[in-house]
């Protein structure tokens, strides 16, 4: 099976990937795979399609399965469409003890969706994730690149209002 085109990757993304490639030896292109996947995911509005995975494979001279191994291993790569604001709620041990169930329930109620779903207007999506390393201020969630910690229903409402 040959999947041999990187044409889906925009010039801008390619330039970005090339910057990463410079950090590694020329015959170790696959070292840039995580960065490349993040870049094309951003380019595509936050999620990866098989065609994009193949494009990364072609661009980095890798087999598609090798790229897919990486893309399916890390939960930061999405394989379904996500909302403009992708909310990742930690439900791991510290957050669980500090009430992440309530955080999740409140979010689901306010947005009218279940975890794993996207709101109809495409603005929000919720995902359950493992520890994001902010246990000191549990419970927490991540939206885009920002961490929101010490969550309470009020604080969540405030954050959502700001993003709407």
């Amino acid at each position: 099976m040959t999947h041999k085109t990187s044409s889906l990757i925009s010039d801008e993304s390619k330039a970005d990937i090339d910057r990463w490639l410079q950090k590694y030896p020329a015959d170790k292109k696959q070292s840039a795979v995580m960065a490349a996947l993040r870049i094309v995911q951003d380019q595509n509005g936050g999620w990866l399609t098989p065609a994009l995975i193949e494009a990364v494979a072609a661009y980095l001279d890798m087999e598609p399965i090798a790229v897919y191994e990486v893309a399916s291993f890390y939960s930061m790569y999405e394989h379904k469409p996500v909302g403009k604001h992708h909310i990742k709620v930690c439900t791991n041990i510290s957050c669980l003890l500090r009430g992440s169930d309530a955080v999740m329930a409140h979010l689901e109620k306010q947005l009218g969706i279940k975890k794993g779903q996207v709101t109809e207007d495409g603005l929000f999506s919720i995902k359950e994730v493992e520890c994001l390393g902010a246990c000191v201020n549990a419970p927490m969630m991540q939206i885009g690149r920002d961490y929101h910690e010490d969550l309470s229903p009020e604080k969540i409402d405030e954050i959502l209002a700001r993003l709407k």
């Binding site: 598609p64 399965i65 090798a66 191994e69 291993f73």
Partner: protein
């Protein structure tokens, strides 16, 4: 050196080796799943934990190098405890469906669980399941059984050279998978079946067919490529149920190509010929052996010697080929040949194709020039050695061919040219190596040819020049061989020829040629007709050995037509087709691979003798016996053999005592053609047996051989487009095939594979071809 103690016994061992290598060498048992001696160390299963003095925890034997003074206990309470714990973990998600699992009875997990596990489980929660996936026609999957040893994944990366299986997801969700809907297409893919320690990957063609404890084994030699892998038949009630590799350090190591592994299916094809048949008054009738042989002898007796021809496939054994030529020569005819795929017969002497080195030497190469070789698909395990040279020795590979076969290692110069350019290219390289030669006066040297020559001219480097099987199908064979050998001479390289078939070398040594007999000795008297001559001008009678003209001969339809015109044809064959019933007068059923004893000479020069593993199907008989009786009935002298060894001894004695004199050959530039016709046997259609192996026919490699192939530029020039039905016509032959756009071809070339029913109507005349929309 290091002095270590294992279970109270002292050993002097090489420092730096891993512990498992030492224990394996000394026959000390350590359980393992992920470790395999031919793969990299993953140390992921933890089954090999042993108790090492002063180590805080048990250590994995597969990833622990030995050191001086090391004290190891493999069965101490700490070791046993660790083994039991790991075993319990591995079985948590294993379905324990051994009663319906093909691996049951030969399963590493089963064996290790019995020897090292507990007899109770404490796990009462739900087990995970993994949805299966169709990964192709050869490998059946049951991924719920997988224990994630990753042997199959490492095999793809490290041995097959193409990563097709991967470990996706993680943790509890981790699974072995191909990308999306991809199948596993490597020509070595079947080896993951042997590697998988559980029943997650099993052989599809023999799925649910037999239980391991019902099988007994017998040894054999692989019947397809000229590499000559060693294999093992697994047999139940006189039927070959499956084929697996037999370890041989010098040849196939622990591997086997898919072609050699799955071709056994052909033994049980619907059209096996099971009893002798004769055609009387236009009617076919099944008769006993005596009547059939008498009928054949009567028919042949009436024919003047010069009107008698013998054609054999190079998959026949040395003994069979030797007797065939002895029979014909005994009757006064030198019309005998096995070069069914050849078109250029201008060379006066024919030399057996040998590597002139061991496969392991190729793995040590520094620079390798490959001319007309598709090693990856045609001799996968020789290619494996070459790949080792590239990977571990950083060998530079230069590849020149008429078709750009995909390689599984980097190539430094890769040239794909039309056949007529091939000669000019080789001449250019030869001239760049030695400008003084007068024969090269009018040759231009391109920059690239100069670069290649420079690559080959390295001091103190191991240079190898290898001429592959595809040259046989080209009308420029003699020139290509001459120039390639000259390049080897000028660069002080080892010159190798691969040959194509299991017995390509043996057929030549056995004397199945019109101009030379046993061991390459020139015949006294008039040279006989070669395959091309015999198949273009009808003789009065033919004896055919394992040969299907329309599929095995490069002359296709012409060959069939010629035989149809012949008044008397004796076909010794394992199968019976409609075509055969059309041209033959006697059909004599012969024992095939696994059913007969004999010898193949591989391209390493090994005379590999094998014995019959199963009795032939029906009343089929070994061809050497058929030929012996035929010779006796025809009063040919010296045919009193009682065992095939006697024949072999006779052949070997002469081969060992006589040296062949090879005449110098020459080369000529060839003229370009408007549209150049290329052909070679399709990967899984090169001989009668593999053509009938149904699983192999369903693989991607087999599928890729269909149709008429041209590159985009050629298609545009001819105003044809992909998928369109096109008509190919040549001298006396034509075929309608779908057009396949194939970037691996040079401009103005069209490639159609032989051995396929769809192209059997073509004459495969390499001179001319006409390609139009159908």
């Amino acid at each position: 050196m290091a002095r270590i103690e294992i279970d109270g016994k002292t050993y002097e061992v090489e420092a730096g080796k891993t512990l498992i290598e030492i224990t394996d060498a000394h026959g000390i048992e350590i359980p393992r799943f992920c470790y395999h001696k031919k793969l990299s160390v993953a140390a992921s299963c933890r089954m090999c934990l042993v108790d090492v003095a002063n180590a805080p925890k048990p250590l994995p034997a597969c990833a622990t190098p030995v050191w001086d003074g090391m004290k190891i206990q493999t069965r101490s309470p700490r070791a046993i405890n660790a083994q039991k714990a790991v075993m319990e973990f591995l079985l948590i998600n294993h379905p324990l469906d051994c009663p319906i699992c093909d691996q049951g009875g030969e399963c590493e997990l089963q064996d290790v669980a019995v020897a090292y596990g507990k007899d109770r489980t404490r796990f009462i929660e739900e087990k995970r399941i993994v949805i299966d996936k169709n990964i192709g026609a050869l490998i059946s999957t049951a991924f719920t059984r997988c224990i994630h040893c990753t042997r199959c994944v490492r095999f793809g990366e490290e041995i097959a050279g193409v990563k097709e299986l991967g470990a996706t997801q993680r943790g509890d969700h981790m699974r072995i998978d191909t990308y999306m809907t991809d199948t596993v297409n490597s020509e070595l893919s079947g080896n993951v079946i042997d590697l998988c320690p559980v029943g997650a990957l099993t052989a599809k063609p023999s799925r649910f067919a037999a239980r391991p404890w019902e099988l007994h084994t017998a040894h054999g030699i692989a019947p397809h490529d000229a590499f000559g892998s060693h294999l093992e038949f697994h047999i139940r009630r006189n039927q070959v149920m499956r084929v697996v590799p037999r370890e041989n350090v010098a040849l196939n190591e622990v591997w086997l190509s898919d072609r050699d592994r799955f071709s056994y299916q052909g033994l049980y094809a619907q059209d096996r010929l099971t009893a002798p048949m004769i055609k009387k008054d236009g009617q076919w009738q099944t008769v006993d052996w005596e009547s059939a042989l008498l009928f054949a002898a009567e028919g042949l007796k009436k024919i003047p010697a010069k009107q008698l021809g013998g054609l054999a496939s190079a998959t026949a054994t040395v003994e069979e080929l030797y007797l065939l030529q002895k029979l014909l020569r005994g009757l006064g005819s030198n019309n005998i040949d096995h070069r069914l795929q050849q078109v250029d017969f201008s060379e006066k002497t024919t030399k057996a194709p040998f590597l002139n080195q061991r496969p392991a030497d190729l793995a040590q190469a520094d620079v390798v020039l490959l001319v007309c070789a598709n090693l990856r698909k045609q001799q996968p395990l020789l290619n494996h050695r070459l790949r080792q040279a590239v990977l571990h020795n950083h060998a530079e590979v230069i590849r020149i061919n008429v078709y750009d076969y995909p390689q599984n290692f980097p190539v430094s110069h890769n040239l794909t040219v039309a056949p007529h350019q091939l000669v000019a290219t080789l001449a250019g390289i030869a001239k760049a190596l030695d400008e003084a030669q007068p024969a090269f006066k009018n040759i231009e040297i391109s920059e690239q040819q100069r670069a290649i020559a420079a690559c080959l001219q390295k001091n103190n480097k191991k240079i190898k020049v290898l001429l592959g099987e595809a040259a046989d199908n080209l009308p420029q064979l003699a020139s290509i061989r001459t120039l390639t050998a000259l390049i080897a001479k000028l660069t002080f390289a080892t010159f190798s020829e691969t040959g194509r078939y299991a017995n390509s070398a043996g057929a030549i040594l056995a004397g199945a040629l019109p101009q030379q007999t046993l061991a390459g000795q020139a015949i006294s008297g008039e040279t006989g007709l070669n395959a091309q001559q015999m198949l273009s001008q009808s003789l009065q009678a033919y004896v055919l050995l394992g040969f299907e003209p329309e599929l095995d001969s490069i002359m296709g339809a012409t060959a069939l037509q010629t035989l149809q015109n012949a008044p008397f044809v004796v076909a010794i064959n394992g199968f019976c087709t409609e075509a055969m019933q059309g041209y033959a007068n006697v059909l004599l059923p012969m024992a095939l691979f696994a059913e007969t004893s004999g010898t193949y000479v591989n391209n390493s020069g090994d005379w590999q003798r094998f014995t019959a593993a199963v009795a032939p199907v029906g009343s089929a008989r070994p061809a050497w016996k058929i030929l012996r009786v035929l010779a006796n009935l025809l009063d040919v002298h010296d045919f009193a053999y009682t065992a095939s060894d006697e024949i072999l001894n006779e052949v070997k004695m002469l081969c060992e005592t006589s040296a062949q004199t090879v005449e110098d050959s020459t080369w000529v530039l060839s003229a370009p053609q408007a549209l150049c016709y290329l052909t070679e046997p399709a990967i899984y259609a090169g001989d009668a047996l593999v053509r009938r192996a149904t699983a192999l026919q369903a693989t991607a490699d087999a599928q890729a051989c269909h149709g008429a192939h041209v590159n985009q530029r050629t298609a545009d020039k001819l105003r044809l487009s992909a998928g369109q039905q096109v008509k190919l016509s040549q001298n006396g032959g034509s075929a309608i095939l779908p057009l396949v756009i194939d970037a691996a071809l040079a401009d103005d070339c069209v490639l159609v594979y032989t051995g396929l029913a769809e192209s059997a109507g073509l004459a495969h005349d390499v001179g001319t071809i006409d390609l139009t929309a159908a």
